[in-house]
Symmetry: C2
Subunit: 140 residues, 2 copies
DNA sequence: TTTGACTCTGCACTATGGTGCAGGGTGGAG
DNA sequence: CTCCACCCTGCACCATAGTGCAGAGTCAAA
């Protein structure tokens, strides 16, 4: 089995050296084996693990959730655990997409209304931001 | 003109007291007038300004961008400046929406494929994360 | 006058996901 | 043997948008 130093494992996985140490500190990677010199030693499995982390991150999982996924994997967790986690993530994404879309549409409307000419007095974008409904802060 | 202390202006605008001081430090609010006691004094214009910030934030503008918007406003900027800023924001939103949608679809596909039953060996979600294309990190 | 609510400054801390650096030790090529 | 690249630890710091707190001073009602 190939043994890699931290620089190699980081390069193979496409992350920074400090990131590898950071993941170890955060419990996303097990504590590395050490050479007599104190150098951390890695295997190709660790490259896979790092890549898993990288890819899960691009799917929007937080490091916390990735740690959970990795624990499930190590503990021979069940498919239903993983599916639940993924479904929660999916629901988060859908909620966030809904919010962002609403914001986008509101902003697009303002931009469409603004001629882009003249001074700021009466500019639909500025006025639009000013004119939004404000829930219940005028009371007291 | 009504004079408000920081607690009142914060409550009227629907933000925290510390947030008001924070915005002053960050240049989003001008330095407040002071009473002899040293208390900050505000007007209803400041309430409007704070609300403007709050609302712009819900549209996804960063504090930095809001500061720019407020500077434009103060400097009698032109409508085209504001429109450009808003269009940039809109383009950001569209890009982000595209990315999130792609991620959502990828995750939804994995979730659909996973029966939610059995051990993790061969779980489509875990495998799916493992199997994503990795751009050009194997080289070197 | 006393009490309680409010405000002041300055500083530390939160979460997230790392990055950078100082001051050392190690490994291998020339 | 020297040189450089690499690695170690521990710590501070980045952005973002605030929040919290200590210790002191102020304001207003009872």
């Amino acid at each position: 089995m190939q043994t890699l130093t931290i620089g190699k494992v980081a390069k193979q996985a496409g992350v920074g050296i400090d990131t590898v140490r950071f993941y170890e500190r955060e419990g996303l990677l097990p504590e590395a084996r050490r050479a007599e010199s104190g150098y951390r030693l890695y295997s190709l499995d660790d490259v896979d693990r790092l890549r898993f982390i990288r890819r899960a991150k691009t799917l929007g999982f937080s490091l916390e959730e990735i740690a959970e996924l990795l624990r499930l994997n190590a503990a021979e967790g069940s498919r239903s655990d993983v599916k639940h986690l993924a479904q929660r993530r999916l629901a988060d994404l859908d909620r966030k997409l809904g919010e962002l879309t609403a914001i986008r549409d509101a902003l697009a409307t303002l931009v469409r209304r603004c001629s882009g000419q003249g001074s700021l007095k009466g500019c639909p974008i500025i006025e639009g931001v000013l004119a939004q409904d404000t829930p219940s802060y005028r009371e007291h």
